[in-house]
């Protein structure tokens, strides 16, 4: 009598690596976009610290300024600014995904959806720049 064995195929179930976002640039780009939120939070906290120093005393604010002028803080803030810009641009570009898909019954071009965000951003930057340059 032949000895039969039951056919028991085993499917291979792949598991994702913990470092899956390093495999390809498109996923790394996404991970960087998500990580940029950390730097946005950093800037918010930094602004609160700045306001607290401003409200405390002139000496404390001078200390804050001196701290911000150190090479380490300049490097950290430069990196944070790069991530902040990445955050703003990537999320502004995502606006057409969720809003204003139709206007007057016709599909809205992406530029119309995300454009106002860029305009507001640019306008606010110009006003602040004029303020700090003493023009306003």
């Amino acid at each position: 009598m032949p000895q039969y064995t039951q056919y028991q195929p085993k499917a291979y179930r792949p598991r994702m690596s913990a470092y899956w976002y390093l495999d390809q640039w498109r996923y790394l780009r996404y991970a960087l976009r998500e990580a940029s939120s950390f730097f946005v939070a950093y800037f918010c906290v930094l602004t609160l610290v700045q306001l607290a120093a401003l409200g405390t005393s002139a000496t404390r604010y001078a200390q804050f300024e001196a701290c911000m002028g150190s090479p380490v803080m300049i490097i950290i803030n430069a990196i944070a600014l790069a991530f902040f810009l990445l955050h703003a641009i990537t999320w502004f570009n995502l606006v057409p995904r969720v809003a204003m898909r139709q206007m007057l019954g016709r599909p809205t071009p992406d530029a119309i959806s995300s454009g106002p965000n860029y305009l507001l951003w640019f306008g606010a930057t110009v006003i602040l720049a004029l303020f700090f340059l003493g023009v306003l």
Binding site: Y12, A99, R101
Partner: protein
Amino acid sequence: MSDTIILEVARFNPERGGEPSYESFEVPLRPDWMVLDGLNHIKDQLDGSLTFRWSCRMGICGSCGMMINGVPTLTCESLLINYAPGPVRVGPLDHFPVVKDLVVDLDDFLAKLQKVRPWVVRKDDFKPPREFMQSPAQLEAFHQFSLCINCTLCYAACPVSGLDPNFLGPAAIALAHRYNLDSRDQGVEDRLDIVSQHEGIWDCTVVGECSVVCPKNVDPSLAIQQLKLTATKEWFKSFLLPRGKH
């Protein structure tokens, strides 16, 4: 240019188990050959045990989706010459259990698809042959989402699908949205209950690769974001008008 190209093809034998490995095959590099033609050449001429799915050879059936050099692609739509000088690495779709070589198990996907009721739901006494008139604008509202061929490339491109096996996934949600937008359908509330669970639209973190890899230019990521908006509006409505029917 060489007249051959190397295909590195994933091999997995379910009777032996273990991890898939890659085997190299030299196939002719012809200007009109797709990657699928290369695989068929291997099957016909070099190793008949190579297992993969394919059917229509014209990007309609959605059977021949595989990872080509790490990107989910329909092999019948990918010219081999575009990958010259090679080698070209062909593997089974990511995030699915592998049945054998390049064949993946789609049972889980089909169950998820069925969950969202991807058909026209009527709650009245509608019976054919009565017709529903639909204007071009009403058709346009859902047309792009109706082009989905269930090739599951979007699942292979979506890291959330890989990380959370319970995630409904891009194609199922896009098809739910397709029927929600259909003027003939009356099943929006039922579908919203399903897709607005945590494993539905809220699991999506807008990676967006599902829309990039779709061979039919369906935009599942857009469908998911639009459904998030709809679900949020419905939640507010139910919050403000708890007893009202909306």
